[in-house]
Protein backbone atom coordinates (compact mmCIF):
# COMPACT_ATOMS: atom_id res chain seq x y z
CA UNK A 1 0.00 0.00 0.00
CA UNK A 2 1.47 3.35 -1.00
CA UNK A 3 0.92 5.80 1.79
CA UNK A 4 0.91 9.44 0.85
CA UNK A 5 2.99 11.54 3.17
CA UNK A 6 0.08 13.44 4.67
CA UNK A 7 -2.50 11.32 6.49
CA UNK A 8 -5.31 13.77 5.71
CA UNK A 9 -4.65 13.64 2.00
CA UNK A 10 -4.34 9.86 2.10
CA UNK A 11 -7.69 9.54 3.88
CA UNK A 12 -9.35 12.02 1.54
CA UNK A 13 -8.11 10.02 -1.45
CA UNK A 14 -9.39 6.81 0.07
CA UNK A 15 -12.84 8.18 0.79
CA UNK A 16 -13.58 9.13 -2.81
CA UNK A 17 -15.84 6.60 -4.54
CA UNK A 18 -14.10 4.70 -7.31
CA UNK A 19 -16.08 3.87 -10.49
CA UNK A 20 -15.48 0.16 -9.89
CA UNK A 21 -17.12 0.46 -6.46
CA UNK A 22 -20.22 2.11 -7.91
CA UNK A 23 -20.34 -0.56 -10.59
CA UNK A 24 -20.06 -3.26 -7.92
CA UNK A 25 -23.00 -1.95 -5.91
CA UNK A 26 -25.11 -1.51 -9.06
CA UNK A 27 -24.27 -5.12 -9.92
CA UNK A 28 -25.75 -6.27 -6.61
CA UNK A 29 -29.14 -5.30 -8.09
CA UNK A 30 -28.68 -7.73 -11.00
CA UNK A 31 -30.09 -10.81 -9.21
CA UNK A 32 -33.56 -9.16 -9.27
CA UNK A 33 -33.45 -9.21 -13.08
CA UNK A 34 -31.09 -12.02 -14.07
CA UNK A 35 -31.63 -14.75 -11.47
CA UNK A 36 -35.01 -14.11 -9.80
CA UNK A 37 -35.12 -17.77 -8.72
CA UNK A 38 -32.00 -17.36 -6.61
CA UNK A 39 -33.04 -14.39 -4.48
CA UNK A 40 -33.11 -16.50 -1.31
CA UNK A 41 -29.49 -17.47 -1.94
CA UNK A 42 -28.68 -13.84 -2.73
CA UNK A 43 -30.08 -12.74 0.63
CA UNK A 44 -28.01 -15.44 2.37
CA UNK A 45 -24.95 -14.10 0.57
CA UNK A 46 -25.71 -10.53 1.68
CA UNK A 47 -26.09 -11.71 5.29
CA UNK A 48 -22.86 -13.70 5.17
CA UNK A 49 -21.09 -10.74 3.58
CA UNK A 50 -22.25 -8.50 6.43
CA UNK A 51 -20.98 -11.05 8.95
CA UNK A 52 -17.63 -11.26 7.16
CA UNK A 53 -17.45 -7.45 7.02
CA UNK A 54 -17.89 -7.30 10.80
CA UNK A 55 -15.07 -9.82 11.27
CA UNK A 56 -12.93 -7.82 8.86
CA UNK A 57 -13.20 -4.78 11.15
CA UNK A 58 -11.58 -6.60 14.05
CA UNK A 59 -9.41 -9.13 12.24
CA UNK A 60 -8.44 -7.38 9.04
CA UNK A 61 -7.95 -3.93 10.52
CA UNK A 62 -7.24 -4.29 14.23
CA UNK A 63 -5.52 -7.69 13.95
CA UNK A 64 -7.68 -9.42 16.57
CA UNK A 65 -7.82 -13.10 15.60
CA UNK A 66 -11.19 -14.44 16.69
CA UNK A 67 -12.28 -18.06 16.50
CA UNK A 68 -15.57 -17.28 18.23
CA UNK A 69 -17.15 -14.48 16.25
CA UNK A 70 -20.32 -16.55 15.74
CA UNK A 71 -21.18 -15.75 19.38
CA UNK A 72 -22.43 -12.29 18.38
CA UNK A 73 -24.05 -13.56 15.20
CA UNK A 74 -25.97 -16.19 17.13
CA UNK A 75 -26.80 -13.82 19.98
CA UNK A 76 -28.33 -11.34 17.55
CA UNK A 77 -30.10 -14.18 15.81
CA UNK A 78 -31.67 -15.53 18.99
CA UNK A 79 -32.59 -12.04 20.21
CA UNK A 80 -34.41 -11.24 16.97
CA UNK A 81 -36.02 -14.67 16.89
CA UNK A 82 -37.22 -14.48 20.49
CA UNK A 83 -38.65 -10.98 20.09
CA UNK A 84 -40.66 -12.20 17.10
CA UNK A 85 -41.70 -15.36 18.92
CA UNK A 86 -42.95 -13.37 21.90
CA UNK A 87 -45.37 -11.49 19.68
CA UNK A 88 -43.52 -8.49 18.25
CA UNK A 89 -42.82 -9.46 14.65
CA UNK A 90 -41.96 -6.01 13.31
CA UNK A 91 -38.62 -6.48 11.47
CA UNK A 92 -36.94 -3.08 11.83
CA UNK A 93 -37.40 -2.61 15.57
CA UNK A 94 -36.45 -6.27 16.04
CA UNK A 95 -33.27 -5.63 14.08
CA UNK A 96 -32.40 -2.59 16.20
CA UNK A 97 -33.04 -4.46 19.45
CA UNK A 98 -30.96 -7.45 18.32
CA UNK A 99 -28.14 -5.12 17.29
CA UNK A 100 -28.29 -3.44 20.69
CA UNK A 101 -28.24 -6.79 22.51
CA UNK A 102 -25.24 -8.03 20.51
CA UNK A 103 -23.57 -4.69 21.10
CA UNK A 104 -23.98 -4.98 24.86
CA UNK A 105 -22.53 -8.50 24.77
CA UNK A 106 -19.70 -7.24 22.58
CA UNK A 107 -19.00 -4.31 24.88
CA UNK A 108 -18.87 -6.51 27.97
CA UNK A 109 -16.58 -9.11 26.34
CA UNK A 110 -14.40 -6.42 24.73
CA UNK A 111 -12.91 -5.71 28.16
CA UNK A 112 -11.62 -9.29 28.18
CA UNK A 113 -10.52 -9.22 24.53
CA UNK A 114 -8.51 -6.00 24.90
CA UNK A 115 -6.30 -7.57 27.57
CA UNK A 116 -4.91 -10.46 25.52
CA UNK A 117 -2.88 -11.14 22.39
CA UNK A 118 -1.64 -14.17 20.49
CA UNK A 119 -2.51 -17.68 21.59
CA UNK A 120 -4.33 -16.61 24.76
CA UNK A 121 -6.56 -14.35 22.66
CA UNK A 122 -7.36 -17.12 20.18
CA UNK A 123 -8.18 -19.48 23.05
CA UNK A 124 -10.31 -16.90 24.88
CA UNK A 125 -12.39 -16.06 21.80
CA UNK A 126 -12.76 -19.77 21.10
CA UNK A 127 -13.72 -20.43 24.72
CA UNK A 128 -16.26 -17.61 24.89
CA UNK A 129 -17.87 -18.80 21.66
CA UNK A 130 -18.10 -22.38 22.90
CA UNK A 131 -19.37 -21.18 26.27
CA UNK A 132 -22.27 -19.31 24.68
CA UNK A 133 -23.08 -22.22 22.34
CA UNK A 134 -23.17 -24.63 25.31
CA UNK A 135 -25.31 -22.19 27.32
CA UNK A 136 -27.82 -21.95 24.47
CA UNK A 137 -27.81 -25.73 24.16
CA UNK A 138 -28.47 -26.17 27.90
CA UNK A 139 -31.17 -23.47 28.07
CA UNK A 140 -33.50 -25.42 25.79
CA UNK A 141 -36.59 -23.93 27.55
CA UNK A 142 -35.57 -20.60 26.02
CA UNK A 143 -33.79 -21.50 22.80
CA UNK A 144 -35.46 -24.78 21.83
CA UNK A 145 -32.07 -26.50 22.18
CA UNK A 146 -31.05 -28.78 19.34
CA UNK A 147 -34.49 -28.49 17.68
CA UNK A 148 -33.97 -24.80 17.06
CA UNK A 149 -36.27 -21.91 17.86
CA UNK A 150 -39.76 -22.69 16.62
CA UNK A 151 -42.70 -20.36 16.09
CA UNK A 152 -40.93 -17.26 14.78
CA UNK A 153 -43.50 -15.26 12.82
CA UNK A 154 -42.40 -12.05 11.13
CA UNK A 155 -44.78 -9.26 10.19
CA UNK A 156 -44.63 -7.73 6.74
CA UNK A 157 -41.76 -5.35 6.10
CA UNK A 158 -43.19 -1.80 6.45
CA UNK A 159 -46.54 -3.58 6.73
CA UNK A 160 -46.47 -4.18 2.95
CA UNK A 161 -43.82 -6.70 1.83
CA UNK A 162 -44.10 -10.23 3.21
CA UNK A 163 -41.03 -12.45 3.70
CA UNK A 164 -42.03 -15.19 1.28
CA UNK A 165 -40.48 -18.14 -0.50
CA UNK A 166 -39.36 -16.02 -3.45
CA UNK A 167 -37.05 -13.94 -1.28
CA UNK A 168 -37.70 -10.61 -2.99
CA UNK A 169 -38.34 -8.84 0.31
CA UNK A 170 -35.58 -10.83 2.02
CA UNK A 171 -32.93 -9.87 -0.51
CA UNK A 172 -33.99 -6.21 -0.73
CA UNK A 173 -34.00 -5.94 3.05
CA UNK A 174 -30.63 -7.71 3.53
CA UNK A 175 -29.01 -5.78 0.71
CA UNK A 176 -30.09 -2.38 2.03
CA UNK A 177 -28.91 -3.26 5.54
CA UNK A 178 -25.61 -4.57 4.15
CA UNK A 179 -25.10 -1.40 2.14
CA UNK A 180 -25.81 0.85 5.13
CA UNK A 181 -23.45 -1.16 7.33
CA UNK A 182 -20.85 -1.02 4.57
CA UNK A 183 -21.12 2.77 4.46
CA UNK A 184 -20.54 2.89 8.21
CA UNK A 185 -17.55 0.54 7.96
CA UNK A 186 -16.11 2.47 5.02
CA UNK A 187 -16.39 5.77 6.87
CA UNK A 188 -14.89 4.21 9.97
CA UNK A 189 -11.91 2.66 8.19
CA UNK A 190 -11.09 5.85 6.31
CA UNK A 191 -10.99 7.93 9.46
CA UNK A 192 -8.16 8.63 11.89
CA UNK A 193 -9.73 5.94 14.08
CA UNK A 194 -9.34 3.46 11.23
CA UNK A 195 -5.69 4.42 10.85
CA UNK A 196 -5.19 3.89 14.58
CA UNK A 197 -6.68 0.40 14.21
CA UNK A 198 -4.19 -0.45 11.47
CA UNK A 199 -1.48 0.82 13.77
CA UNK A 200 -2.63 -1.61 16.44
CA UNK A 201 -2.52 -4.43 13.91
CA UNK A 202 1.03 -3.59 12.94
CA UNK A 203 2.41 -2.95 16.42
CA UNK A 204 0.13 -3.07 19.44
CA UNK A 205 2.82 -2.05 21.90
CA UNK A 206 4.02 0.96 20.01
CA UNK A 207 0.61 2.61 19.61
CA UNK A 208 0.19 3.62 23.26
CA UNK A 209 3.74 4.97 23.13
CA UNK A 210 2.76 7.44 20.42
CA UNK A 211 -0.34 8.49 22.31
CA UNK A 212 -3.05 6.21 20.90
CA UNK A 213 -4.80 4.19 23.62
CA UNK A 214 -4.89 0.68 22.09
CA UNK A 215 -7.23 -0.99 24.60
CA UNK A 216 -9.84 1.76 24.21
CA UNK A 217 -9.66 1.51 20.43
CA UNK A 218 -9.93 -2.27 20.57
CA UNK A 219 -12.97 -2.08 22.84
CA UNK A 220 -14.62 0.39 20.50
CA UNK A 221 -14.05 -1.54 17.29
CA UNK A 222 -14.91 -4.85 18.93
CA UNK A 223 -18.26 -3.48 20.09
CA UNK A 224 -18.99 -2.10 16.62
CA UNK A 225 -18.08 -5.44 15.05
CA UNK A 226 -20.33 -7.23 17.53
CA UNK A 227 -23.24 -4.94 16.61
CA UNK A 228 -22.73 -5.71 12.92
CA UNK A 229 -22.48 -9.43 13.54
CA UNK A 230 -25.66 -9.21 15.63
CA UNK A 231 -27.44 -7.42 12.77
CA UNK A 232 -26.32 -10.14 10.36
CA UNK A 233 -27.63 -12.81 12.73
CA UNK A 234 -30.91 -10.97 13.19
CA UNK A 235 -31.32 -10.69 9.41
CA UNK A 236 -30.87 -14.45 9.09
CA UNK A 237 -33.43 -15.12 11.85
CA UNK A 238 -35.95 -12.70 10.33
CA UNK A 239 -35.64 -13.75 6.70
CA UNK A 240 -35.66 -17.49 7.41
CA UNK A 241 -38.07 -17.28 10.41
CA UNK A 242 -36.05 -19.84 12.31
CA UNK A 243 -32.98 -19.91 14.54
CA UNK A 244 -30.81 -22.96 15.13
CA UNK A 245 -27.87 -23.70 17.41
CA UNK A 246 -25.75 -23.72 14.27
CA UNK A 247 -25.76 -19.90 14.33
CA UNK A 248 -23.57 -20.07 17.46
CA UNK A 249 -21.38 -22.97 16.40
CA UNK A 250 -17.63 -23.12 15.95
CA UNK A 251 -18.26 -24.19 12.36
CA UNK A 252 -19.87 -20.83 11.64
CA UNK A 253 -16.95 -18.96 13.21
CA UNK A 254 -14.53 -21.01 11.12
CA UNK A 255 -16.58 -20.56 7.94
CA UNK A 256 -16.66 -16.78 8.21
CA UNK A 257 -12.92 -16.76 8.85
CA UNK A 258 -12.38 -18.83 5.71
CA UNK A 259 -14.66 -16.52 3.72
CA UNK A 260 -12.83 -13.43 4.86
CA UNK A 261 -9.37 -14.89 4.23
CA UNK A 262 -10.46 -16.12 0.83
CA UNK A 263 -11.66 -12.68 -0.18
CA UNK A 264 -8.84 -10.80 1.50
CA UNK A 265 -8.70 -9.59 5.10
CA UNK A 266 -8.00 -5.92 5.68
CA UNK A 267 -9.90 -4.91 2.55
CA UNK A 268 -13.42 -3.55 2.71
CA UNK A 269 -14.62 -5.71 -0.18
CA UNK A 270 -12.72 -8.81 0.97
CA UNK A 271 -15.56 -10.25 3.03
CA UNK A 272 -18.17 -9.46 0.40
CA UNK A 273 -16.22 -11.02 -2.48
CA UNK A 274 -15.35 -14.02 -0.31
CA UNK A 275 -19.00 -14.48 0.66
CA UNK A 276 -20.16 -14.38 -2.97
CA UNK A 277 -17.58 -16.96 -4.10
CA UNK A 278 -18.00 -19.23 -1.10
CA UNK A 279 -21.79 -19.25 -1.02
CA UNK A 280 -22.24 -19.66 -4.77
CA UNK A 281 -19.69 -22.48 -4.83
CA UNK A 282 -21.36 -24.20 -1.91
CA UNK A 283 -24.75 -23.86 -3.58
CA UNK A 284 -23.40 -25.33 -6.81
CA UNK A 285 -21.68 -28.22 -5.05
CA UNK A 286 -24.47 -28.84 -2.56
CA UNK A 287 -25.22 -32.11 -4.36
CA UNK A 288 -21.85 -33.37 -3.17
CA UNK A 289 -21.31 -34.94 0.21
CA UNK A 290 -20.49 -32.14 2.69
CA UNK A 291 -17.31 -34.06 3.57
CA UNK A 292 -15.89 -33.49 0.12
CA UNK A 293 -16.88 -29.84 0.27
CA UNK A 294 -14.61 -29.49 3.30
CA UNK A 295 -11.82 -31.29 1.47
CA UNK A 296 -11.82 -28.58 -1.17
CA UNK A 297 -12.20 -25.79 1.37
CA UNK A 298 -9.22 -27.15 3.28
CA UNK A 299 -7.13 -27.43 0.12
CA UNK A 300 -8.15 -23.91 -0.83
CA UNK A 301 -7.16 -22.59 2.60
CA UNK A 302 -3.73 -24.19 2.37
CA UNK A 303 -3.27 -22.80 -1.13
CA UNK A 304 -4.41 -19.30 -0.13
CA UNK A 305 -2.04 -19.19 2.85
CA UNK A 306 0.92 -20.43 0.85
CA UNK A 307 0.35 -18.66 -2.48
CA UNK A 308 -2.06 -15.75 -1.89
CA UNK A 309 -1.33 -14.31 1.55
CA UNK A 310 -3.70 -11.38 1.02
CA UNK A 311 -6.64 -13.31 -0.40
CA UNK A 312 -8.17 -13.04 -3.84
CA UNK A 313 -8.47 -9.25 -3.74
CA UNK A 314 -4.88 -8.92 -2.53
CA UNK A 315 -3.71 -11.19 -5.36
CA UNK A 316 -5.66 -9.15 -7.90
CA UNK A 317 -4.22 -5.91 -6.56
CA UNK A 318 -0.69 -7.32 -6.87
CA UNK A 319 -1.40 -8.43 -10.43
CA UNK A 320 -2.71 -4.95 -11.32
CA UNK A 321 0.34 -3.29 -9.79
CA UNK A 322 2.80 -5.47 -11.68
CA UNK A 323 0.88 -4.85 -14.93
CA UNK A 324 1.09 -1.14 -14.34
CA UNK A 325 4.79 -1.12 -13.51
CA UNK A 326 5.46 -3.12 -16.68
CA UNK A 327 3.53 -0.65 -18.85
Amino acid sequence: MTLSTEPQRYLAAQIRWQPVEIAFWLATLLPFVLTPNYLVLASQIAITALFALSLDLILGYAGIVSLGHAAYFGFGSYTAGLIAKWGWGEPLTGLVLAAAAAGVLGYVTSFIIARFRHLALIMITLGLGLLLAEAANSASWLTGGADGLQGVRMWKLFGVFPFDLYGTAAYSYSLVVLFLAFLVARRLINSPFGLALRGIRENAIRMPAIGAPSPAHIRKVYTIAAVMAGIAGALLAQTTETVSLETLSFARSADVLVILILGGAGRLYGGIVGAIIYMVARDQFSGLNPQYWYFWIGTLLIAVVIFLPNGILGGMARLLRSERSRA
Partner: protein, 287 residues
Protein backbone atom coordinates in the same frame (compact mmCIF):
# COMPACT_ATOMS: atom_id res chain seq x y z
CA UNK B 1 -26.42 -45.84 39.51
CA UNK B 2 -24.61 -43.19 41.49
CA UNK B 3 -20.95 -43.62 40.70
CA UNK B 4 -18.65 -43.58 43.68
CA UNK B 5 -16.50 -40.49 44.01
CA UNK B 6 -13.45 -42.72 43.84
CA UNK B 7 -14.60 -44.34 40.62
CA UNK B 8 -15.17 -40.94 39.01
CA UNK B 9 -11.74 -39.84 40.14
CA UNK B 10 -10.13 -42.95 38.69
CA UNK B 11 -11.95 -42.76 35.34
CA UNK B 12 -11.31 -39.04 35.16
CA UNK B 13 -7.62 -39.50 35.83
CA UNK B 14 -7.34 -42.19 33.15
CA UNK B 15 -9.13 -39.87 30.72
CA UNK B 16 -6.82 -37.04 31.75
CA UNK B 17 -3.79 -39.22 31.03
CA UNK B 18 -5.14 -39.85 27.57
CA UNK B 19 -5.46 -36.09 27.03
CA UNK B 20 -1.91 -35.70 28.30
CA UNK B 21 -0.48 -38.12 25.73
CA UNK B 22 -2.49 -36.39 23.04
CA UNK B 23 -1.40 -32.88 23.93
CA UNK B 24 2.11 -32.99 25.38
CA UNK B 25 3.78 -32.87 21.96
CA UNK B 26 1.81 -29.79 20.96
CA UNK B 27 2.74 -28.06 24.19
CA UNK B 28 6.47 -28.53 23.63
CA UNK B 29 6.47 -27.61 19.93
CA UNK B 30 4.27 -24.57 20.55
CA UNK B 31 6.57 -23.45 23.30
CA UNK B 32 9.59 -23.83 21.04
CA UNK B 33 8.49 -22.39 17.73
CA UNK B 34 5.32 -20.49 18.67
CA UNK B 35 3.75 -22.34 15.80
CA UNK B 36 -0.01 -22.66 16.31
CA UNK B 37 -0.48 -26.21 15.03
CA UNK B 38 -4.22 -26.82 15.06
CA UNK B 39 -3.66 -29.98 12.99
CA UNK B 40 -2.07 -31.79 15.93
CA UNK B 41 -5.16 -33.97 16.38
CA UNK B 42 -5.08 -34.91 12.70
CA UNK B 43 -1.85 -36.76 13.45
CA UNK B 44 -3.56 -38.35 16.45
CA UNK B 45 -6.39 -39.44 14.20
CA UNK B 46 -3.89 -40.93 11.77
CA UNK B 47 -2.43 -43.05 14.56
CA UNK B 48 -5.92 -44.20 15.49
CA UNK B 49 -6.75 -45.25 11.95
CA UNK B 50 -3.43 -47.05 11.55
CA UNK B 51 -4.22 -49.13 14.61
CA UNK B 52 -7.75 -49.82 13.43
CA UNK B 53 -6.51 -50.93 10.02
CA UNK B 54 -3.71 -53.09 11.38
CA UNK B 55 -5.84 -54.87 13.97
CA UNK B 56 -9.10 -55.25 12.03
CA UNK B 57 -7.92 -55.71 8.45
CA UNK B 58 -4.61 -57.45 8.94
CA UNK B 59 -5.31 -59.15 12.25
CA UNK B 60 -2.34 -57.72 14.14
CA UNK B 61 -2.42 -57.81 17.93
CA UNK B 62 -3.41 -54.46 19.46
CA UNK B 63 -0.14 -53.95 21.34
CA UNK B 64 1.96 -54.62 18.24
CA UNK B 65 0.04 -51.97 16.31
CA UNK B 66 0.82 -49.21 18.83
CA UNK B 67 4.46 -48.62 17.75
CA UNK B 68 3.25 -48.33 14.17
CA UNK B 69 0.65 -45.76 15.19
CA UNK B 70 3.50 -43.79 16.74
CA UNK B 71 5.83 -44.20 13.76
CA UNK B 72 3.31 -43.39 11.05
CA UNK B 73 2.15 -40.20 12.78
CA UNK B 74 5.76 -39.14 13.37
CA UNK B 75 6.83 -39.76 9.75
CA UNK B 76 3.81 -38.06 8.20
CA UNK B 77 4.18 -35.08 10.51
CA UNK B 78 7.82 -34.63 9.49
CA UNK B 79 6.75 -34.62 5.85
CA UNK B 80 4.21 -31.88 6.61
CA UNK B 81 6.75 -29.96 8.63
CA UNK B 82 9.25 -30.01 5.76
CA UNK B 83 6.80 -29.12 3.02
CA UNK B 84 4.28 -26.76 4.61
CA UNK B 85 4.97 -25.67 8.18
CA UNK B 86 8.53 -24.61 7.57
CA UNK B 87 7.39 -21.76 5.29
CA UNK B 88 5.26 -20.19 8.00
CA UNK B 89 7.48 -20.06 11.08
CA UNK B 90 7.75 -16.31 10.77
CA UNK B 91 4.18 -15.76 9.60
CA UNK B 92 1.39 -14.41 11.78
CA UNK B 93 -0.70 -16.50 14.19
CA UNK B 94 -3.57 -16.12 11.78
CA UNK B 95 -1.77 -17.64 8.79
CA UNK B 96 -0.58 -20.55 10.92
CA UNK B 97 -4.11 -21.10 12.22
CA UNK B 98 -5.55 -21.03 8.72
CA UNK B 99 -3.00 -23.40 7.21
CA UNK B 100 -3.45 -25.94 9.97
CA UNK B 101 -7.26 -25.63 10.00
CA UNK B 102 -7.04 -26.32 6.27
CA UNK B 103 -5.08 -29.48 7.03
CA UNK B 104 -7.72 -30.49 9.60
CA UNK B 105 -10.51 -30.02 7.03
CA UNK B 106 -8.64 -32.12 4.47
CA UNK B 107 -7.75 -34.86 6.97
CA UNK B 108 -11.36 -35.11 8.17
CA UNK B 109 -12.59 -35.37 4.58
CA UNK B 110 -9.99 -37.98 3.66
CA UNK B 111 -10.81 -40.05 6.76
CA UNK B 112 -14.51 -39.90 5.87
CA UNK B 113 -13.72 -40.92 2.29
CA UNK B 114 -11.67 -43.96 3.31
CA UNK B 115 -13.39 -45.12 6.48
CA UNK B 116 -16.88 -43.63 6.25
CA UNK B 117 -18.53 -41.60 8.98
CA UNK B 118 -19.16 -44.39 11.48
CA UNK B 119 -17.46 -45.08 14.79
CA UNK B 120 -14.56 -47.47 14.24
CA UNK B 121 -14.77 -50.80 16.07
CA UNK B 122 -11.74 -52.13 17.91
CA UNK B 123 -11.20 -55.61 19.28
CA UNK B 124 -9.13 -55.43 22.41
CA UNK B 125 -7.21 -58.52 23.44
CA UNK B 126 -8.90 -60.34 26.35
CA UNK B 127 -6.20 -59.45 28.87
CA UNK B 128 -6.97 -55.73 28.47
CA UNK B 129 -10.70 -56.15 28.96
CA UNK B 130 -12.79 -56.42 32.08
CA UNK B 131 -11.99 -55.22 35.57
CA UNK B 132 -9.79 -56.26 38.45
CA UNK B 133 -10.58 -55.50 42.04
CA UNK B 134 -7.92 -54.15 44.34
CA UNK B 135 -8.72 -53.43 48.01
CA UNK B 136 -12.45 -53.76 47.33
CA UNK B 137 -12.45 -51.23 44.50
CA UNK B 138 -12.88 -52.40 40.92
CA UNK B 139 -10.67 -50.90 38.24
CA UNK B 140 -10.99 -51.15 34.48
CA UNK B 141 -7.95 -53.07 33.22
CA UNK B 142 -7.65 -50.91 30.13
CA UNK B 143 -7.71 -47.73 32.21
CA UNK B 144 -4.97 -49.09 34.47
CA UNK B 145 -2.98 -49.94 31.35
CA UNK B 146 -3.53 -46.41 30.06
CA UNK B 147 -2.41 -44.82 33.31
CA UNK B 148 0.63 -47.11 33.38
CA UNK B 149 1.68 -46.17 29.86
CA UNK B 150 1.21 -42.46 30.55
CA UNK B 151 3.30 -42.58 33.67
CA UNK B 152 6.06 -44.39 31.79
CA UNK B 153 5.89 -41.78 29.03
CA UNK B 154 5.92 -38.89 31.48
CA UNK B 155 8.92 -40.24 33.36
CA UNK B 156 10.74 -40.98 30.10
CA UNK B 157 10.00 -37.51 28.75
CA UNK B 158 11.09 -35.71 31.86
CA UNK B 159 14.23 -37.82 32.13
CA UNK B 160 15.07 -37.25 28.47
CA UNK B 161 14.49 -33.53 28.78
CA UNK B 162 16.46 -33.13 32.00
CA UNK B 163 19.37 -35.54 31.58
CA UNK B 164 20.23 -35.83 27.89
CA UNK B 165 22.15 -33.51 25.63
CA UNK B 166 19.21 -33.36 23.23
CA UNK B 167 16.86 -32.50 26.11
CA UNK B 168 19.11 -29.62 27.09
CA UNK B 169 19.00 -28.33 23.52
CA UNK B 170 15.21 -28.55 23.53
CA UNK B 171 14.98 -26.65 26.80
CA UNK B 172 17.34 -24.00 25.52
CA UNK B 173 15.29 -23.59 22.35
CA UNK B 174 12.04 -23.31 24.31
CA UNK B 175 13.48 -20.76 26.70
CA UNK B 176 15.10 -18.52 24.13
CA UNK B 177 15.16 -19.59 20.54
CA UNK B 178 17.45 -16.81 19.29
CA UNK B 179 19.97 -17.28 22.06
CA UNK B 180 20.02 -21.02 21.40
CA UNK B 181 20.76 -20.35 17.74
CA UNK B 182 23.49 -17.99 18.78
CA UNK B 183 25.10 -20.75 20.84
CA UNK B 184 25.29 -22.94 17.77
CA UNK B 185 22.32 -25.19 18.43
CA UNK B 186 20.65 -26.27 15.20
CA UNK B 187 17.17 -25.21 16.37
CA UNK B 188 15.50 -26.25 13.12
CA UNK B 189 16.77 -29.79 13.44
CA UNK B 190 15.95 -29.97 17.15
CA UNK B 191 12.51 -28.70 16.33
CA UNK B 192 11.95 -31.21 13.54
CA UNK B 193 12.87 -34.10 15.86
CA UNK B 194 10.73 -32.73 18.69
CA UNK B 195 7.86 -32.17 16.30
CA UNK B 196 8.08 -35.77 15.07
CA UNK B 197 8.21 -37.08 18.65
CA UNK B 198 5.25 -34.93 19.70
CA UNK B 199 3.17 -35.94 16.72
CA UNK B 200 4.15 -39.55 17.23
CA UNK B 201 2.91 -39.35 20.82
CA UNK B 202 -0.31 -37.83 19.49
CA UNK B 203 -0.60 -40.80 17.11
CA UNK B 204 -0.08 -43.18 20.02
CA UNK B 205 -2.69 -41.22 21.97
CA UNK B 206 -5.10 -41.51 19.07
CA UNK B 207 -4.64 -45.27 19.03
CA UNK B 208 -5.10 -45.54 22.79
CA UNK B 209 -8.15 -43.25 22.67
CA UNK B 210 -10.26 -45.59 20.52
CA UNK B 211 -11.30 -47.75 23.47
CA UNK B 212 -12.11 -44.78 25.74
CA UNK B 213 -13.69 -42.13 23.54
CA UNK B 214 -14.09 -43.86 20.18
CA UNK B 215 -12.69 -42.89 16.82
CA UNK B 216 -14.49 -41.44 13.84
CA UNK B 217 -13.63 -39.09 11.00
CA UNK B 218 -14.33 -35.98 13.11
CA UNK B 219 -11.78 -36.91 15.80
CA UNK B 220 -9.35 -34.23 14.58
CA UNK B 221 -11.94 -31.57 15.34
CA UNK B 222 -13.59 -32.95 18.47
CA UNK B 223 -10.40 -33.40 20.45
CA UNK B 224 -8.63 -30.37 19.09
CA UNK B 225 -10.52 -28.22 21.57
CA UNK B 226 -9.58 -30.44 24.53
CA UNK B 227 -5.94 -30.52 23.48
CA UNK B 228 -5.84 -26.75 23.08
CA UNK B 229 -7.38 -26.34 26.52
CA UNK B 230 -4.69 -28.56 28.05
CA UNK B 231 -1.92 -26.66 26.28
CA UNK B 232 -3.27 -23.18 27.01
CA UNK B 233 -4.09 -23.92 30.65
CA UNK B 234 -0.92 -25.88 31.35
CA UNK B 235 1.36 -23.32 29.80
CA UNK B 236 3.46 -23.59 26.66
CA UNK B 237 6.49 -25.82 26.70
CA UNK B 238 5.78 -27.25 30.13
CA UNK B 239 5.46 -31.02 30.52
CA UNK B 240 4.50 -30.73 34.18
CA UNK B 241 1.93 -28.09 33.29
CA UNK B 242 0.38 -30.31 30.64
CA UNK B 243 0.28 -33.21 33.09
CA UNK B 244 -1.52 -31.18 35.77
CA UNK B 245 -3.86 -29.46 33.30
CA UNK B 246 -4.75 -32.75 31.60
CA UNK B 247 -5.48 -34.46 34.94
CA UNK B 248 -7.63 -31.57 36.14
CA UNK B 249 -9.45 -31.38 32.83
CA UNK B 250 -10.04 -35.13 32.66
CA UNK B 251 -11.31 -35.37 36.23
CA UNK B 252 -13.51 -32.27 36.04
CA UNK B 253 -14.95 -33.31 32.67
CA UNK B 254 -15.75 -36.77 33.99
CA UNK B 255 -17.20 -35.35 37.22
CA UNK B 256 -19.27 -32.86 35.23
CA UNK B 257 -20.66 -35.66 33.05
CA UNK B 258 -21.59 -37.77 36.09
CA UNK B 259 -22.96 -35.13 38.43
CA UNK B 260 -24.20 -32.29 36.17
CA UNK B 261 -25.04 -33.94 32.85
CA UNK B 262 -27.46 -31.13 31.96
CA UNK B 263 -24.61 -28.61 31.92
CA UNK B 264 -22.75 -30.48 29.18
CA UNK B 265 -19.35 -29.10 28.38
CA UNK B 266 -20.27 -25.68 29.75
CA UNK B 267 -18.27 -26.28 32.94
CA UNK B 268 -15.06 -27.12 31.05
CA UNK B 269 -15.17 -24.04 28.85
CA UNK B 270 -16.00 -21.86 31.81
CA UNK B 271 -13.05 -23.19 33.80
CA UNK B 272 -10.77 -22.67 30.82
CA UNK B 273 -11.82 -19.07 30.18
CA UNK B 274 -11.61 -18.23 33.88
CA UNK B 275 -8.15 -19.81 34.22
CA UNK B 276 -6.86 -18.04 31.13
CA UNK B 277 -8.14 -14.70 32.34
CA UNK B 278 -6.41 -15.26 35.64
CA UNK B 279 -3.16 -16.49 34.07
CA UNK B 280 -2.93 -15.81 30.32
CA UNK B 281 0.34 -17.77 30.01
CA UNK B 282 -1.14 -20.85 31.68
CA UNK B 283 -0.60 -22.39 35.09
CA UNK B 284 3.04 -23.30 34.54
CA UNK B 285 3.87 -20.96 31.68
CA UNK B 286 6.72 -18.54 32.06
CA UNK B 287 6.10 -16.17 29.18
Amino acid sequence: MIASAFGVLFDGFAYGMLLFILSVGLSVTLGMMNFVNLAHCSFAMLGGFVTVTLTNELGWPFLASLPFAFLSAALVSVAFERVLYRRLYRASDLDQCLLTIGIVFVSVAVAAYIYGTIQQPLNLPPYLRGTVSILGQSFGVYRLFLIGISIVITVALIAALEYTRFGAQVRAAVDNQRMARGLGIDVDRVFAVTFALGSGLAGLGGALAIEIVGLDHAFAFTYLIYVLIVVAVGGLGSIAGSFVAASVLGISDMAGKYYFPELGAFLIYFVMVALLMWRPVGLFGRR
